[in-house]
Symmetry: C2
Subunit: 223 residues, 2 copies
């Protein structure tokens, strides 16, 4: 095993932050340093201090950019192609994060950040567009067989809100009765005994049961 050291790699963490805002799935970007003249956006990120684990760094990145200390966080992929300069390479360990709808984030910490709907992304630096696309695929995919959808919602929510969340991410309409029957049968949520009033009949509020076992048996390609 060769022992050649890689002194000139730069190791960074990047985070794709998703949230539901304005009835759309949005992702967070920050303005990149204008290298030539073009201004582009990039994924929030940072170097990884030697004393930190990768996940800690991703978490700290969230704290730094949006002042948030708790969020769903999952490693997505590590990118590390050599660039044009054969003496330089950036290793990007990318995480994705999910922020509950309605979370108030402190944009004063970092005035250069901005949310964009995933359907209307701006021009992004490097391969960040591909990264977001991949994160989105993973989110959709994961939504189908785990309970990750609840991470997008506040602690208490109505069944209509939950259904809307699923519809937004999957990009298709779902049947109300089937949706309700199945999610209640799955036993992953419980009513909190309160109702949310607004226009029309008040809606029962539910919360996710953190003890819920919410992995579905995959459908096999072959039996």
């Amino acid at each position: 095993m060769s022992q050649e050291k890689s002194f000139i790699d730069r190791l960074e963490v990047r985070v794709v932050v998703f949230s539901l805002r304005d009835d759309q799935l949005q992702a967070l970007f920050c303005r990149s340093e204008p290298i030539i003249t073009q201004v582009a956006w990039e994924l929030p990120g940072d170097c990884i201090p030697i004393h930190q684990s990768l996940e800690e760094s991703a978490g700290q990145c969230l704290a730094y950019f949006i002042g948030l200390h708790e969020a769903y966080l999952e490693q997505l992929y590590t990118y590390g192609d050599p660039g044009q300069d054969p003496e330089k390479r950036v290793i990007s360990v990318v995480y994705f994060a999910i922020i509950p709808a309605g979370t108030i984030i402190n944009t004063k910490i970092q005035p250069t950040i901005k949310w964009f709907p995933v359907k209307e992304l701006p021009e992004l630096a490097n391969n960040h567009r591909d990264i977001v696309d991949y994160a989105l695929r993973r989110l959709r995919y994961k939504l189908e067989y785990t309970a990750v959808g609840f991470e997008l919602l506040p602690e208490n929510f109505t069944l209509t809100e939950l259904q809307r969340t699923y519809e937004l991410i999957l990009g298709e309409k779902l049947d109300k009765r089937n949706f309700r029957r199945r999610i209640l049968e799955a036993g992953v949520i419980e009513p909190i005994g309160q109702w949310q009033s607004g226009e029309g009949r008040p809606a029962r509020l539910y919360r996710y049961r953190p003890d819920a076992v919410a992995e579905v048996q995959a459908r096999r390609l072959f039996p």
Copy 2:
């Protein structure tokens, strides 16, 4: 964004190599340098030269250890917890590889490597046991919704061999008629017009259709 450089990180690639051997799923390890006196095994790996991409390095690792230049390769996870020494950290980008059954590998290149059945792993260095467990989960999982199972087989195979492969990895018996019906209906394999003889009636040989679309619609947790 802070610009602190991480000079003392060591960046390495590791590969979990799976193959079917002796009617068992096996993984490849190499003898680790005996640090104190205890001899343990570790995942084959190497440093990542600055001019290479991560996947290239993983591929080169396969070439170096077993003289193989083509194999299914997929990024698994990146590990990078700080160790005891706060000035040192190893970043391990881990891939997993699948080698078709019957592939003759050149163990003369590296006499210190050895296959172990995944059910009888030896003592492994660092967190490599966890890594293998995770790779195995991913392999099982992936088998259920993609056609990755074919990577474990030689180019031509019988339906019984294919079924056996699935049974070995999933760890359960499958029904012969259901298995055959569904895989043939899926249209991912085609007969090559030859038969393999041995004991009993000769078996028809098939091959995987590389143009096959072989992703199954996931079963949803909620509709």
